[in-house]
C-alpha cells in the first residue's frame, strides 16, 4: 500500500503527503487545501534542507558520528505534530503512541535516506551540484 494511503488509514492522522525534492510538485491526502499542501511542501523542503546543512557541519567535526544523512525531523506542537521523513510528511494529532507508530511506518516504508538526497535538494540552486558537494 502506498505510504500516504497507509498513513491516512491510521486514526489521528490529519493529513499526509509527498513532495519532490526539487520542489516542483507535491501530492497529499487529508484535511488540507491545495494551497495549504503547497505551503506545507515548501515548509518541509526548507526544513529538510536546513537540517541537512546542519548535519554536514556536524559531520565535518566528527566524521561518521551517525547523524548524516538526516532521515527526517519532527515538530511537536501543542495538539498537532508534524513529521517529515525523506520527502514525505504527515500532520498528526498528539494522541498516545501515535507519533511512535507514524514514525515507525514512515521509516520502514521510506527506507534509509541516502546521500543523493542533497544532490536532489540542491538541484535548483544551479551549477554542478554533484561536483560542488562531492
Amino acid at each position: 500500500m502506498h505510504i500516504v494511503k497507509q498513513l491516512m488509514a491510521i486514526p489521528g492522522v490529519i493529513a499526509a503527503g509527498e513532495y519532490a525534492y526539487r520542489g516542483d510538485r507535491f501530492s497529499y491526502q487529508g484535511a488540507l487545501t491545495d494551497e495549504f499542501a503547497r505551503m506545507a511542501s515548501i515548509l518541509c523542503r526548507g526544513n529538510t534542507l536546513s537540517v541537512n546543512m546542519q548535519s554536514e557541519i556536524f559531520d565535518s567535526f566528527a566524521e561518521n558520528c551517525g547523524c548524516r544523512p538526516v532521515q527526517g525531523w519532527i515538530v511537536r506542537g501543542a495538539q498537532v505534530t508534524v513529521c517529515a521523513v525523506g520527502n514525505y510528511f504527515a500532520f498528526i494529532e498528539n494522541r498516545e503512541e501515535l507519533l511512535n507508530d507514524v514514525m515507525t511506518i514512515m521509516r520502514a516504508k521510506v527506507g534509509d535516506i541516502q546521500d543523493d538526497l542533497l544532490v536532489n535538494l540542491y538541484a535548483r540552486l544551479g551549477g554542478d551540484t554533484k561536483e560542488a558537494l562531492y
Binding site: 526544513n47 536546513s50 566528527a62 551517525g66 547523524c67 527526517g72 519532527i74 515538530v75 501543542a78
Partner: protein, 112 residues
C-alpha cells in the same frame, strides 16, 4: 533537569542543557558513543535555531491557515541516520533510532 534520569530513557546516548544562546551548559555522554562535547555544542546551537524557526513557522501557519494546535511549541527533533536529537526548551536528549521512543522522550523533556 536531572540528566542522569534522562539517560534512563530508551536508547539515550546523551543528555544536555544549553543556554538561550545555544551554548552547552551541562551534559552526560554514554560511554562508547561517537558523540563528542564539540558535536554537542554545535548541536545545541542548532537546537536553539531550529526551535526558533519552528515557532515562527507554527505561528505563521496558524495565522495564514486559521488552523490551531501548533503553538506553543512542545519540542523539535532531527532524525539522523543512527540517532535522533529531541529537544524542548533548554534541554535535549540524543537517542539511538532503533530504540527510540519519541513520545516518551518528548514527554520527559516537557516534564523536566
Amino acid at each position: 533537569m536531572n540528566l542522569e534520569r534522562m539517560m534512563e530513557l530508551p536508547g539515550a546516548l546523551a543528555a544536555f542543557t544549553y543556554s538561550d544562546k545555544g551554548d552547552l551548559e551541562s551534559h552526560v555522554l554514554r560511554e562508547g558513543t561517537e558523540l563528542t562535547k564539540q558535536v554537542l555544542d554545535l548541536l545545541t546551537h542548532s537546537c536553539v535555531a531550529n526551535q526558533a524557526i519552528a515557532t515562527m513557522e507554527a505561528r505563521g501557519w496558524e495565522a495564514v491557515t486559521g488552523q490551531g494546535g501548533f503553538e506553543p511549541l512542545k519540542g523539535f527533533s532531527v532524525v539522523g541516520l543512527e540517532w535522533s536529537v529531541v529537544v524542548n526548551g533548554n534541554c535535549g536528549i540524543v537517542v539511538r533510532n532503533r530504540d527510540a521512543d519519541y513520545e516518551a522522550t518528548f514527554n520527559a523533556l516537557q516534564a523536566a
